[in-house]
């Protein structure tokens, strides 16, 4: 039946929970586009037949193929756009450097889209006033306390705190640090918030 491959693309995304990005299904996409080409060409020839030879009986088939074409297009755009939204979410979750595992699941064009997006976002944030603008990808949760106890989960190296001093983040070391500085590192899995 037509649109099977397109439906498969949708199902693939539907199965992946929010925040996850399955590998880009280049093959699947190509097959849908090929099916669309075939349907279109069949319709073109049938439309000519219908017009020149008065074959009105071809019209239901033509309509049916047209519906399939629309459905294929809708599924394809939904698949591609939903992936873009997931990729966009990655910028907000992980920061501007994506973990390799995720990058391998993205097509070259998706990586390009991501690069343009983060550049746009950076420009916007810088324009928000003050010297450096405002990084709105920080402060994702309402502040509960100023400083938090964190444990370092992997070796990270020197980390600069506010007044110029820095701490050495070695695996298993614990620190009492300003909350807002730690947010992104916590999300990246470098630090872990130790609850009292």
């Amino acid at each position: 039946m037509f649109c099977e491959k397109a439906m498969e693309l949708i199902r693939e995304l539907h199965r992946a929970p929010e925040g996850q990005l399955p590998a880009f299904n280049e093959d699947g996409l190509r097959q849908v586009l090929e099916e669309m080409k075939a349907l279109y060409e069949q319709n073109q020839s049938d439309v000519n037949e219908a017009k020149s030879a008065g074959r009105g009986d071809l019209i239901p088939t033509i309509k049916f193929r047209h519906c399939s074409l629309l459905r294929n297009r809708r599924c394809t755009v939904a698949y591609l756009y939903d992936r873009l939204l997931r990729i966009r979410a990655l910028r907000w979750e992980y920061g501007s450097v994506l973990p390799n595992a995720l990058r391998f699941h993205m097509s070259a064009e998706e990586v390009e889209w991501f690069n343009h997006y983060k550049k746009s976002l950076a420009t916007y944030m810088r324009s928000l006033g003050g010297d450096e603008g405002l990084d709105i990808t920080q402060d994702m949760k309402p502040p509960k306390s100023l400083y938090i106890e964190v444990r370092c989960l992997k070796d990270y190296g020197e980390f600069e705190v506010d007044d110029g001093t820095s701490v050495l983040l070695k695996k298993n070391s614990q620190h009492f640090l300003p909350r807002w500085k730690c947010e992104q590192l916590i999300r990246q899995g470098v630090l872990e918030h130790v609850l009292p």
Binding site: Y40, W113, L121, L128, P142, P143, L146, R179
Partner: protein, 219 residues
């Protein structure tokens, strides 16, 4: 921190009023804008003047804290306050950005066809951002899929705001004779009065202009 802030800022055309706010009033305005933006299904009018003033306020606070004695208890408390304000401001801007990205084709079109004199729902920076977002996304979809599709199928349509969604609100200024349109055929139009201080659950579309004018506050 008792300086007052001038919100008229950068409009020198006739008709703009000069509003001078205390820092506390400014933060209250920020919080109101934040709540409205959070609960409204569509992108609301841009409040750049509030954003600018709050950023200035944060800068002042940072300067004051840098000059203060270390270990002073007041420093911690003021830092907390700054964190709170920064959170609200970031949340407000994030909320706007999410809506802008979600409804970008229609937001862009609305901006391009906006009549002269009507306030914009986008700040200049947001406008630049959404144009880039549009170009980026359109180019991507075209190159990866659309240009490989049959010629008559190369245009697509994306999401529109759902203005029929329901919102909670509190009335700040009494309103009379608000027309409520029926949702289903059986119902008829009816008219209600909104008493000051009362709270309601109502379709956004019915009261959208009241949010813009500040007569109601979304909660």
């Amino acid at each position: 921190m008792t300086e007052e802030l001038d919100l008229s800022g950068h409009n020198s055309d006739a008709g703009s009023e000069e509003v001078v706010l205390t820092p506390a009033e400014l933060i209250e305005r920020l919080e109101q804008a934040w709540l409205n933006e959070k609960f409204a299904p569509e992108l609301l009018e841009s409040r750049s003047e509030i954003v600018e003033c709050v950023m200035e306020q944060l800068d002042h606070m940072e300067d004051n804290l840098r000059r203060a004695k270390k270990g002073d208890l007041k420093v911690s408390i003021h830092r907390m306050e700054m964190e709170r304000i920064r959170y609200v401001l970031s949340s407000y801007l994030r909320c706007r950005l999410m809506k802008i990205e979600k409804f970008f084709p229609h937001i862009l079109e609305k901006e391009k066809t906006r009549p002269e004199g009507e306030p914009s729902s986008l700040s200049p920076e947001e406008f630049a951002f959404v144009k880039e977002y549009m170009a980026n996304t359109e180019t991507y979809l075209k190159n990866v899929a659309l240009k490989h599709m049959p010629p008559n199928l190369q245009k697509v349509d994306l999401l529109r705001s759902d203005l029929d969604s329901y919102v909670f609100l509190r009335v700040r200024e009494r309103q009379e004779n608000i027309l409520v349109e029926p949702e289903i055929d059986d119902q008829r139009d009816y008219v209600i009065d909104l008493e000051e201080g009362s709270q309601h659950l109502i379709r956004y579309k019915t009261i959208a202009p009241l949010v813009a004018s500040g007569a109601v506050q979304l909660i």
